[in-house]
Amino acid sequence: MQLTEKHREYWNKNLTITAILLAIWFVVTFVEGWYARELNQFTFLGFPFGFYMSAQGSLIVYVVLIWFYALYMNKMDRVYDVHEGEDD
């Protein structure tokens, strides 16, 4: 099993996107949570913003993050020719 330059590039891209998405995850979870009290001074759709983020906003971001990752990596699989057949 020999890894080519292309393979390493694929893995590095994977690590980069993982790191970026993880950073967003961290912000909407822990940074948002830490400042929830302060964020509550703003109103969003009739909700105090800190409450809204913890009850709905962060959750929506999580769903988007996972879908983005899945679609992005499924595309990368094809670009770097490591994709599976249609009917494994």
Partner: protein
């Protein structure tokens, strides 16, 4: 079915489940009509209970299998969409379905830690685990640990951790099944547990993962329909907008205004003062019980005598005599009473502002509350990404590509319920604060009168200041009532209450199925096949697997019937334990080639050790068990609650793996090849690790 192509199979599944959903809706309508024609509530309960269990049994029996890979991973042909639904049902337990909205009602913002934790964890599953586990393609989580780190020690630690986490969790599910069954059919709790056990076994016994998967999809559909209907109705009723997730912002504003009114209301203050006086008297009494008891009794006797001597009106004398008669018989009884009354102090506080994060009496208390909030979020997230019964679902998709999409569908289906729960909590609070509070005791809203009569643990209202009007501080409410009573609060017919019970049952059964399978598979596959008898023929493997499933189910039901206390804590603890033992070893196994066998062994043991140590030292139940007398404050780190012990276990686990790995020789080439193998969906000249 084994011969049809994946896309035909997808089409068939879609058709079957559309027909099934239509049939289920038809069933609800028929029962609704029957109710109008006079079918009793109890029979509606029976219909839902037996119809749904029969349905699961039919799916379970038609999915029976004699193939190992179908039994363990559903033949690896579950499409992403359906695996998402199955994971949703697998994930959402009785606690999510029935308990979550109640927790949010009672603890306001701080309860959102669970909402965030139990959804955000899937980001970690998607980024760090699901695609790689799918490429690895074996049967259990200990399988991966065993292959990546080599040897049976790591596998054994994995087996033990998987069993401990899952067993605690499954007991809570069977407990939930027993409760729901007994509440809605009038059967006894013990009988309810037995019915639940039957419901669980019919799904999994003959078809293993294959049967569990297809029943879980069916169960998801029931539970989501059951959760949504009452909330949508309640939202339309109170806000005029049938989309609760958008509409409850308005309701939240009104609740916040009402909280301020109720805090300032003189009648509310009067009730809170009565409660506070009782709590204070109890605290004083407990300081010197003997003296307080004698004095209290003497005072009560003197009052009767005085009133009689002064020839007071008969009703005053009568009241004083009743008070004397109600006075505890002896010092022990008085102590019990006072210990109970001491708890009233909590009710003597003004209502907790629903939307306010981390309330506390001073800055230090608020900071501790904030740390604990984030601690719970952290542990629930990492625990989500480490619970074996969830991770093993990602072995069942046809490809790595589908595994990635399937995490997306999983979270989407889970999200539907979790972002509705906060709306339900607020809408229910709106109803209680506006319509129950301020109503006359003689004419309580029908749902409140009904539940207070049926189950005082869920709702009890006492007229403490004798004004005939309900004050907020006079209401004691158990969290579970929020979901259970919503159909009645919203003014829906009883058939919807039956539907909610069926939904709760589906949530509990589906989770219990996944957990039991995890435990039984850890024993039959990892322990028996991989460690004891690697040459066992297929027939023997399946026989052992099914036999163990039966044994584990019976043991779990037996433990449940003993009604062990502290179930909720133990479920939370399962997350911290799973997080500390599995997460570091799994993630580093994929992302760090240098991680070695001894690194993993020490990391798993150290993480688990720290986690268990912290729980034993700080959780009252264990403190009494092990007779620990050091004050809690001295052993607490950063004021963290025991449920979040994983906050310490996870970093220690990571650190131990890294340090010990660097001190031991790098893993052999084969292991490094294995890591490359799981990193790329397809690799030229690849090895094949798929299990058969």
């Amino acid at each position: 079915m084994a011969t049809v192509s994946q896309s035909t199979f997808n089409q068939q599944l879609k058709r079957y489940y559309s027909i099934y959903t239509g049939g289920f809706v038809g069933f609800i309508i028929v029962l609704g009509i029957a109710e109008q024609m006079g079918l009793s509530n109890r029979w509606i309960g029976y219909c839902f209970l037996f119809a749904t269990i029969l349905l699961y049994a039919v799916i379970g029996i038609t999915s029976r299998t004699a193939e190992v890979s179908e039994y363990y991973v559903a033949g690896r042909r579950v499409p992403a969409f359906f695996n998402g639904m199955a994971t949703g049902a697998d994930w959402m337990s009785a606690a999510s379905f029935i308990g979550m909205a109640g927790t949010l009602y009672l603890s306001g913002f701080d309860g959102l830690a669970f909402v965030m934790g139990w959804t955000g964890g899937y980001v970690l599953v998607a980024l760090f685990l699901a695609p790689y586990l799918r490429k690895f393609g074996q049967f259990t989580i200990p399988d991966f640990l065993g292959a990546r780190y080599g040897g049976n020690i790591v596998r054994s630690i994995g087996v033990v951790s998987a069993i401990v986490c899952s067993f605690v969790y499954v007991v809570a599910q069977i407990y939930g099944v027993g409760l729901i069954t007994s509440r809605f059919t009038g059967l006894e709790f013990g009988v309810g547990v037995f019915v639940g056990l039957a419901g669980i076994l019919v799904c999994s016994f003959l078809g293993g993962m294959k049967a569990v998967t297809w029943t879980q999809v069916a169960q998801y559909i029931i539970l989501i329909v059951a959760y949504m209907i009452p909330v949508v109705w309640l939202s339309a009723k109170h806000t005029g907008n049938p989309i609760p997730q958008i509409a409850y912002g308005q309701a939240l504003q009104k609740v916040t205004e009402r909280e301020k009114q109720l805090t300032a209301d003189p009648k509310e203050k009067e009730v809170r003062d009565i409660l506070k006086a009782r709590a204070d008297a109890a605290t004083a009494g407990l300081k010197d019980p003997n003296k307080a008891y004698t004095e209290g009794r003497a005072a009560a006797e003197k009052r009767v005598a005085d009133l009689k001597a002064s020839q007071a009106p008969a009703d005053q004398i009568g009241a004083a005599e009743t008070a004397l008669a109600a006075y505890p018989k002896d010092v022990e009884a008085a102590k019990n009473q006072w210990n109970k009354d001491k708890g009233l102090a909590a009710r003597a506080a003004p209502p907790r502002p629903h939307a306010e994060p981390f309330p506390g009496k001073d800055e230090a208390a608020r900071n501790t509350a904030r740390l604990n909030f984030l601690g719970i979020v952290f542990c629930m997230m990492i625990g989500t990404a480490a619970l074996p019964h969830i991770l093993m679902r990602y072995y069942t998709t046809p490809s790595v590509r589908d595994a990635r999409l399937s995490v997306g569908w999983s979270l989407f289906f889970i999200f539907l319920l979790y972002f509705t729960a906060p709306a339900l909590a607020v809408l229910a609070k709106y109803d209680v604060y506006h319509f129950l509070v301020g109503s006359k005791f003689a004419e309580l809203p029908a749902w409140a009168a009904n539940w207070a009569r049926v189950d005082p643990a869920l709702l009890s209202i006492t007229d403490l200041n004798k004004d005939g009007i309900v004050q907020l501080a006079e209401i004691v409410l158990g969290g579970d009532i929020i979901v259970l009573a919503t159909p009645e609060i919203a003014g829906l017919p009883y058939v919807i209450s039956g539907l909610v019970a069926a939904g709760g049952l589906a949530a509990a059964l589906s989770t219990a199925d996944g957990l039991l399978l995890t435990i039984a598979n850890a024993l039959s596959h990892d322990l028996y096949y991989k460690m004891i008898n690697p040459n066992a023929p297929t027939k023997a493997r399946l026989a052992v697997a099914k036999g163990l499933l039966l044994v584990v189910a019976i043991v779990a039901a037996y433990v449940t019937s003993l009604k062990p206390g502290d179930i909720l804590f133990l479920v939370g603890a399962a997350f911290s334990l799973a997080a500390s033992s599995f997460f570091p070893a799994l993630v580093l196994g994929v992302f760090w080639k240098r991680a070695t066998k001894w690194g993993a062994i020490s990391g798993m043991l150290a993480g688990l050790g720290v986690c268990v140590y912290y729980m034993v030292m700080t959780y009252p139940f264990f403190r009494t068990m092990f007779n620990i007398t050091v004050p809690i404050a001295d052993v607490q780190w950063f004021g963290m609650n025991p449920i979040s012990a994983g906050v310490f276990g996870v970093p220690v686990g990571f650190a131990a793996i890294v340090i010990v790995s660097l001190l031991t020789p790098a893993p052999e080439k084969e292991v490094q090849d294995l890591v490359d193998h799981v990193r790329y969906p397809v690799l030229a000249g690849d090895i094949d690790t798929r299990a058969t």
